[in-house]
């Protein structure tokens, strides 16, 4: 059993726990690399087809390649896809810095979807190694009524026993690949032949390391034109993965504020 097998087995276990213990779950699908790995894992966990809907919180500002990817693989992977549009930027907290304010639309779109469908569990593809506040996450992470995350009051979680009873009206976030790294995601993508959006691979010396809205996501300098190249590149880098995501860096606590109010 190698490391990828171990990661896979753990994620499959978590996905099955989420489906068994929560009443009404949905899996988020950002169309990015982590989420495509997660869908692969869920298809393994449930023998081919996801027994719950997949939710794309659509800002309307993703790259055209991402929409093309969505339209192709929703059919190929037999996904029961729900697309939830986000409210306009004017409705967002004006005290947030510009990019964070833009990203906050996704949080609000998420809240709308929760209200509309009454999900008590949302499966999300965040990872501990992405970002310091995500490193503090639980696998089953309870959210407050407004989708808020209280990092100070997290319940204990050990021995793969999860808190699966959200307070009435609230929901759980479930993080099946919390323990994966960026390199793990790429190594698994390669091993499983998971399709990749072309933007992740270098063209003219630039590639996207992380994909978000097209107006607040920036490419990095890179010569990595294959997944193998990416793995070598990641091994040498000391630049954080989300450095191309503008909302993380506008102020010291911008991303933490986003997360506390329900951002992924």
């Amino acid at each position: 059993m190698d490391r990828l097998d171990e990661l896979e087995a753990q994620s499959v276990f978590i996905l099955r726990e989420a489906f068994a213990r929560l009443r009404h779950v949905a899996m988020l699908w950002s169309l990015g690399k982590d989420y495509n790995v997660m869908i692969r894992l869920a298809r393994k966990a449930f023998f081919g087809r996801l027994p719950f809907p997949v939710l794309h919180i659509d800002t309307g500002k993703k790259f055209p390649e991402m929409y093309a990817f969505r339209d192709r693989y929703r059919t190929e992977w037999q996904l029961d896809l729900i697309v939830e549009p986000c409210p306009p930027i004017e409705a967002m907290d004006p005290t947030l810095p510009p990019a964070a304010r833009s990203a906050a639309r996704k949080t609000e779109g998420l809240k709308l979807a929760l209200d509309r469908h009454g999900f008590d569990g949302l499966i999300a593809g965040i990872r501990r190694d992405e970002e310091p506040t995500r490193a503090k996450e639980r696998v089953f992470s309870p959210r407050g009524l407004e989708g808020s995350w209280d990092v100070r009051e997290q319940p204990p979680e050990f021995w793969d026993h999860f808190n699966a009873a959200p307070p009435p009206g609230a929901h759980m976030r479930v993080h099946p690949i919390l323990h994966w790294t960026e390199s793990d995601v790429w190594a698994y993508t390669r091993r499983e032949n998971i399709p990749v959006i072309g933007l992740y691979l270098a063209r003219d010396g630039r590639r996207y390391r992380s994909l978000g809205d097209s107006d607040i996501t920036f490419p990095i300098a890179s010569q990595a034109t294959t997944i193998d190249d990416i793995l070598v590149e990641l091994d040498a880098t000391t630049v954080p993965e989300r450095s191309g995501r503008a909302m993380d860096h506008e102020s010291e606590d911008a991303f933490e504020r986003l997360r506390a109010s329900g951002y992924l």
């Binding site: 490391r3 726990e17 068994a20 506040t133 050990f158």
Partner: protein, 644 residues
């Protein structure tokens, strides 16, 4: 100095990634955990470019001297309070392996976070301030490492710069902690003098501690061995779910210990049913049709069995020859994190493997504050204390003593739906009757059944309406109730959904819970029928087996009435919106969509509820009850029953 290795890809491509070690850093608050981690990240070249500079300038802006611990204090709230409040995980590499360092908070208030972190670890670094020595949280963390099953420990005695790198001081603290650990059955693999702030003893040897001949911190990290899957123990696979997505019936779960192979004789506990493994299922389907023949500990698998035996979430699939016990009572050594102290009589949810069971705390044998290691009386177990307890479970669950199997021999305690404790199973007793039957003496009603029959104009009976959701059972039941009442009778409607709000509120929709739901309704209905009432049960009751059990309870005047609307019409009606939600995947195990309905083969009466007006349907039921002489027909007197 440890560096990044040159070409990890060569290894990854061969399918052999570098070993991953999870190491937790524990110890009393302010003894230097975060400082040591910051130093380790720096010494191993693991810091992102510019991070150190950014933090130095951020400290300068705040007018504070730079501290290594700032590296970890990524959260605003933490900086404000100056303490680490939650488990954080940081990755770096040594020469030998990838390391995940789990930073556990040292403050008592956040013990739940320390436990969350330490439970994931293969090994622990226990840090002690050379000036302060062993403190209560040092002991508490040591005790919890023991309970959590972390056996590899290295002790780091920090702040040696503050005691002038004094060997005698080091030896004194070393002696204290070694005694404490050996009382818990633990031995430190190394005790290392360091100054995390100055860097002595962390990545390199220091001339200032030249008297120390043991390893540096990095060398100690490299000497730990990663936890291995427990393949050599007997098979234990707690069942997560039974999937029937297609014509296969797949038992899904993770193999916690041992191995499984196609053809193996296995037992499902606690029921004790035995069968053999027919196949190990995978997706995508293997190219050669055979599929995997074996799987071992650590793998999440799906298996099919030779016989269609009853299996449910919470059961354990085990080696037939070395099976876990069906446990109704157990003793455990536990830690308690709940706000309210744990006291005798408390009702808890206990989780063992994938099983969840209600339990009553019947005895507290010891209660200890592990910070002081002194007994605090056995009346209750306070928050952050440990104790030995005895639990009575409300139904039998498969479990092992911890000494037999570390995975199926540990429990998690939940209070109010939240994890609030956990521990090791010390011993188990086999299942026994909750209350010995011989002590029960039933009391008979004072009113003879014949008297009731005379008054109500009918015999007591159970009319059991079964059918798919949306087939019209409740509507029919209500109309029948009205009809019988208006002719002077004593009907009573027992609606399955209504009873789930109270009598059966503790039950879910697993097969076992569904069976128990039906059993309870049948008991109530039978009691009413014995006392002259016509009990009208409206319940989906999808399992033919459960309905047969209900008939056995219900007595001689039990009538199974099938509300026989076809599935597509029931789904079209969908009065409660359940079908729509089940189709969207929002409701799992919904009868008619994702769970089977076993239609009655020979019901006492079938009513085409989709074709008949409600009045006509009730007419049909009324005529039936006259035919079977529950009701008196026109000009007819009912003869008293001999016995019901």
């Amino acid at each position: 100095m440890n560096m990044l290795i040159a070409d990890p890809l060569a290894e990854t491509q061969a399918g052999k990634a570098r070993a991953l070690m999870r190491i937790v850093i524990v110890g009393h608050v302010d003894h230097g955990k975060s400082t040591l981690i910051g130093r380790l990240l720096h010494e191993t070249g693991s810091l992102p470019d510019g991070k150190l500079e950014a933090l130095r300038s951020s400290s300068a802006r705040r007018g504070m001297p730079f501290e290594w611990s700032f590296l970890l204090d990524a959260l605003q709230t933490e900086r404000d309070h100056g303490i680490t409040i939650d488990t954080s995980q940081i990755r770096f590499r040594t020469m030998a392996r990838d390391v995940v360092l789990i930073d556990a908070p040292g403050h008592t208030e956040f013990l739940r976070n320390m436990i969350t972190g330490a439970a994931q670890a293969d090994a622990a670094l226990l840090i002690i301030d050379a000036v302060e020595g062993v403190r209560d949280q040092t002991r508490r963390h040591g005790y919890l490492l023991h309970l959590l099953g972390v056996r590899q420990i290295a002790v780091v005695i920090n702040k040696m710069d503050r005691v002038g790198y004094d060997k005698a001081r080091f030896r004194s603290v070393e002696a204290d902690i070694s005694t404490e650990l050996s009382n818990l059955g633990l031995t430190a693999q190394a005790v290392i003098p360091i100054s995390a702030r100055e860097g002595d003893g962390v990545a390199r040897r220091s001339s200032r501690t030249a008297w120390h001949h043991g390893p540096t911190v990095l060398e100690a990290l490299d000497s730990f061995t990663p936890a291995q899957p427990m393949r050599e123990l007997s098979l234990r696979m707690p069942v997560q779910a039974v999937y029937k997505f297609d014509d296969r019936r797949i038992i899904a779960g993770r193999i916690e210990t041992g191995r499984i192979a196609v053809g193996d004789a296995i037992v499902v506990m606690p029921s004790g049913t035995t069968t053999r493994v027919r196949s190990i299922e995978t997706w995508p389907a293997p190219i050669d049709a055979a599929g995997p023949q074996t799987a071992s500990a650590g793998h999440s698998v799906g298996i099919t069995l030779d016989d269609e035996i009853f299996v449910d979430r919470g059961d354990i699939v085990a080696t037939a020859a070395m099976r876990p016990k069906a446990v109704r009572r157990l003793r455990a050594r536990v830690f308690w994190l709940g706000e309210t102290p744990l006291s005798v009589g408390a009702s808890l949810d206990v989780r063992i493997g994938t099983a969840g069971v209600r339990a009553i705390l019947v005895r507290i044998e010891h209660a200890i504050d592990p910070g002081r290691l002194s007994p605090v009386g056995a009346a209750e177990i306070a928050r952050n204390h440990v104790g030995e307890i005895e639990l009575a479970l409300t139904r039998p669950v498969a479990a092992d003593p911890h000494s037999v199997n570390p995975r199926t021999g540990r429990i998690v305690l939940e209070a109010d739906g939240r994890i609030a404790g956990g521990g090791l199973v010390l011993s188990v007793d086999v299942a026994e009757e909750a209350a010995p039957r011989r002590s029960i003496v039933p009391v008979k009603s004072a009113v003879p059944a014949a008297e009731r029959t005379r008054r109500f104009g009918h015999h007591g009976a159970v009319v059991w309406l079964t059918g798919l959701p949306g087939s019209g059972k409740s509507t029919l039941g209500r109309a029948l109730e009205e009809r019988l009442f208006s002719r002077g009778g004593m009907p009573m409607l027992l609606d399955g959904d209504t009873l789930r709000g109270g009598l059966n509120a503790d039950l879910g929709f697993s097969a076992a819970d569904r069976a128990e739901n039906i059993r309870r309704i049948a008991e109530v209905a039978a009691h009413l029928a014995r006392n002259g009432v016509i009990a009208i049960v409206a319940a989906v009751s999808p399992s033919a087996c459960d309905r047969a059990a209900a008939r056995a309870i219900g007595g001689s005047r039990f009538y199974e009435v099938f509300a026989a609307a076809p599935p597509d019409i029931c789904e079209q009606r969908d009065p409660k919106g359940h079908y729509r939600r089940a189709r969207s995947g929002a409701m799992s195990g919904f009868t008619g969509v994702s769970a089977p309905y076993e239609a009655p083969v020979a019901p006492d009466l079938a009513i085409a509820t989709h074709l008949l007006e409600i009045t006509a349907a009730v007419d049909q039921l009324e005529r039936f009850l006259e035919e079977v002489e529950v009701l008196a027909g026109a000009d007819q007197r009912l003869s008293p029953d001999v016995s019901i």
